[in-house]
Symmetry: C2
Subunit: 274 residues, 2 copies
Amino acid sequence: MRTDNLSINLATVRQQWNLREAVEACARHGIMAVDPWRDQVAAIGLDESVRAIKDAGVRVTGYCRGGMFPAPDAAGRQAALDDNKRAIDEAAALGSECLVLVVGGLPKASRDMAEARKMVADGIAAVLPHARACKMPLAIEPLHPMYAADRACVNTLGQALDLCDLLGEGTGVAIDTYHVWWDPDLAAQIARAGKAKRILGYHICDWLVPTKDMLLDRGMMGDGVIDLPRVRGMIEKAGYTGHTEVEIFSAADWWKRPGDEVLRTCIERFNSVC
Amino acid sequence: MRTDNLSINLATVRQQWNLREAVEACARHGIMAVDPWRDQVAAIGLDESVRAIKDAGVRVTGYCRGGMFPAPDAAGRQAALDDNKRAIDEAAALGSECLVLVVGGLPKASRDMAEARKMVADGIAAVLPHARACKMPLAIEPLHPMYAADRACVNTLGQALDLCDLLGEGTGVAIDTYHVWWDPDLAAQIARAGKAKRILGYHICDWLVPTKDMLLDRGMMGDGVIDLPRVRGMIEKAGYTGHTEVEIFSAADWWKRPGDEVLRTCIERFNSVC
């Protein structure tokens, strides 16, 4: 079974392994690309993470995550900028191909979505010169509207692409099927993203029915209702030839299974479903 | 405090009262408009429901709900049409000002959203002549994208208005803040809805952070993050002068409180927050 062009977002096995164990396991299964999270890097240290990735010989197709720009005051927003610059530096040290941005939701005690969205645009604009200097593309990830309040006020691919149009060179999008599958405008927006060469990542998992937890009940590809071959068709038609990254948060199911079983299943479903 | 132009969706007190008790309680609190659900009508019978509404002297600003058009086979789709015609007849008997449509999600075992959306358009078109003959406007309610799979594949106001444009006279939209508050295109689409005289209902509640249940954890106005005055501004600017309907599904909170406290709170928050 093919594993080229397959990447594993390391959140998928975060409960089973630390970063070194996870990248070694991926390589053992023939998966030669990963996307680690910052807390996974912090847990073993940046230097050891760089070594582990080099030792395993895997590519880093993305790094999760920067973002979380909105804050109630200037000090909070500045802290977010500083943190994003550190994330960019870490991504560069890891040799990541992009930094994924989960942009943040409403600032505490605010109900002003327009203001939050402006804070996001301003925040990305403020860190973009540093990202460009580090040659680190910023992948804006639109999140499902159910996360609009507390995680990301960029909720459609169209909205993310508007931001890219505004911000220009060095920005792009990460397209995660979980967040965008419902969008009636999806085909047109993926085509738009491809035409503008903005697709920096393609993430997959599945939407379970019922979904029992709004954050931690993502499904393995094939176990839910997302028409993954159809979305892949759109992505390929848009000219994207990069990796497909499996990203599954699953507190009650996949996080409880042996990591090797999870990776085997990812490979099987990547070949049979996606 | 004002109660004119306030309507109570009777799901808000469904655990406390039957339909007769609920409309009597509304009238006692000076709330002279309601929106009952079909199962509440069925529980005491249509004739008794008509009498209870007449006895209390309340208006029926909407009736919940028709819809659920997609089905895996022709027999299932025909059953949905028959059921929708009965819902139209019931709405007419109750003197309702519209029938709210929750259009339905993916048919069982399907992943084809485009097909589901076509079934919805075809289904509404098929019952529209009966609705027109009964002078019963059909209010298409876009539901939050988190319900796309299992409740409604119409997920934005823009999409609902496109359907109205396609189907024409006798169709409109019910705009529920819970479903649409996150939409970056909301102001433009509410203006569009107003211009085309399509706003048949305006429903309010609040989005809680965190939301603990995807269906039954809606908040009382003011307890969440929706900027209700801002949405009201859009609605008024769009020329809507009809009722504002409170619709709260709250298994762990408001459904457990005394009905009179719920209605008192609805009135207070309608005056202070919305």
